[in-house]
């Protein structure tokens, strides 16, 4: 993706969150998860590939640091449940890795980088439905950029980012992209 050395104004546009701000957002979300789930008991963090997965692992690491509590984290690929499959060539599948105990009776926190139309989250809810019956499902996102097309909202938000639909939001994470940043830019092919 982006190999820009400076996170301030790379090829993807303007940086709206830097590494330090992402770190603070995740720390706050980790505390909020502990608070809202009464200490994080029976919680599972499931990241949505690609960038939701490292975010879920980071949240789990922070919770372990704060509360000495091991919260299982995994990944949930939603490709086969998407509603836009017929609009694109067939895509390669991501990984689905569930904690050994499964999801039955647990509080599942879905983790993704950007919340936009809400269609990915809908697909994730469908995918989860085939895997078991969680006690509750919550949603944590690093960036909520608005423009929802479905009645879905996040329980934990790193940053609310008002955007126009002509813009694109890129979340860069060290595990995938070599650096941490949230960039906002114009869609390619738009004036």
């Amino acid at each position: 993706m982006c190999a820009a050395s400076s996170p301030v104004a790379g090829r993807d546009g303007l940086a709206v969150l830097d590494a330090e701000e992402i770190r603070r957002s995740l720390t706050r979300i980790a505390h909020e998860i502990l608070e809202r789930t009464h200490g994080g008991d029976e919680v599972i963090l499931l990241g949505i590939p690609t960038r939701g997965v490292p975010l879920a692992c980071r949240l789990a690491a922070r919770i372990a640091e704060f509360e000495k509590l091991v919260v299982p984290c995994g990944s949930l690929d939603v490709t086969l449940h998407r509603d836009d499959l017929r609009l694109h060539p067939a895509r390669a599948l991501g990984r689905t890795e569930l904690p050994a105990d499964g999801v039955d009776g647990k509080t599942v926190v879905l983790v993704d980088d950007v919340l936009y139309s809400g269609r990915t989250v809908r697909a994730a809810l469908d995918a989860l439905n085939d895997l078991g019956r969680p006690r509750a499902v919550q949603l944590a996102v690093l960036v909520d950029r608005g423009h929802r097309e479905l009645p879905i909202r996040a329980d934990y938000v790193g940053k609310n980012l008002p955007t126009s639909q002509r813009e694109v939001v890129h979340v860069l994470l060290a595990e995938v992209d070599g650096q941490d940043a949230v960039m906002i830019g114009e869609k390619e092919g738009q004036p």
Binding site: A90, L93, D130
Partner: protein, 316 residues
């Protein structure tokens, strides 16, 4: 990926790896309480079988159903084919019924290729005469990768030595496997009596040997082929017993294999001819695993051919 799957030669290394990686993810489905995905809802897959088949037809049917496609099974027996209907007319009938994919098995080599010119949907070759059987090669490659390299994503079969033994002349499985496994980097050797090798075998991307015993100690995979008596119009070997002595895999021959080596067979087996019962039932044999992997691999192919737009472009 192309629109059809007619020949293993149509698959580039990237295409083949994409299919294997997709199959690796879909394999998890077998352990889940609900073994079904909504991906191909509203699509119709026709199984058009002009030849007898147990595992391939059931495997394609299970694969399509697990992806929520509607399946229509057509077998030549008991249909208008018995009244003399041609393949083309049958194809046009299926076309009119709105088939999104046609899985065809036919005794004539090239039938799948001809069909692809007549119908709009995707054509999947499930065996045409003595030509090709690409999904069998894919499930064999998937089985080899899982057993010998741990099924790591993106991994090929580089450097693995595969020996394919027996009736290569009548085997579509052998041809597809030679093409696909060599694309994936494996070194393939055919071990067979000279009478059971095709004339043009010199142009295939593989080595040829007439002596099975000298190949066994250096093989990572031994793939036994069925002696296809129903396709044999002449005497290719003096007697079944002599064939079995020289090219059959029994316990003594299996003992010459390296410890990690696996024994494969596409089925159906002639126990006691090309493979001894004790070998077929041993821990090295992947024969039952191959059947399970067949469903997963065919799901991957159906998803990649039908899951996207009507004309899926180049993958990555």
């Amino acid at each position: 990926m192309k629109r059809h799957l007619i020949s293993a030669a149509d698959l580039s290394r990237a295409d083949a790896l994409l299919i294997l990686d997709t199959a690796e993810e879909l394999a998890q489905l077998a352990d889940r309480p609900i073994k079904k995905l909504p991906t191909l809802r509203g699509r119709t897959v026709v199984n058009l079988f002009y030849e007898d088949s147990t595992r391939t037809r059931i495997s394609f049917e299970a694969a399509a159903k697990r992806l929520s496609a509607d399946v229509i099974n057509f077998s030549a027996k008991g249909s208008s084919v018995a009244k003399g209907e041609s393949l083309k007319d049958t194809a046009l009938t299926l076309e009119a019924m709105g088939a999104d994919a046609v899985v065809i098995r036919h005794p004539a080599s090239g039938a799948a290729h001809r069909l692809a010119g007549w119908v709009q949907g995707s054509v999947l070759n499930a065996g045409d005469g003595t030509h090709e059987h690409p999904t069998q090669a894919l499930l064999d490659a998937f089985t080899i990768r899982r057993r010998l390299t741990g099924g790591r994503r993106g991994a090929g079969l580089d450097g693995l030595r595969v020996t394919i033994v027996g009736d290569v002349l009548h085997s579509r499985v052998a041809r597809s496997n030679v093409l696909l496994l060599s694309t994936l980097g494996a070194e393939v050797t055919l071990a067979a009596p000279p009478t059971l090798l095709p004339l043009a075998v010199g142009s295939w991307p593989c080595a040829v040997s007439y002596d099975l015993d000298s190949e066994l100690p250096k093989s990572d995979v031994v793939m036994m082929l069925r002696v296809q008596q129903e396709r044999m119009s002449a005497a290719y070997f003096p007697s079944v017993r002599e064939y079995s002595r020289r090219y059959g895999l029994d316990a003594a021959r299996m003992a010459r294999l390296p410890d990690h080596a696996i024994v494969m067979h596409p089925g159906p087996m002639n126990r006691g001819v090309e493979i001894a019962a004790e070998v077929a039932d041993s821990a090295r044999s992947t024969i039952v695993e191959q059947v399970a992997n067949g469903v997963t691999t065919r799901m991957a192919v159906l998803y990649l051919l039908l899951g996207g737009t009507e004309f899926p472009a180049v993958t990555q």
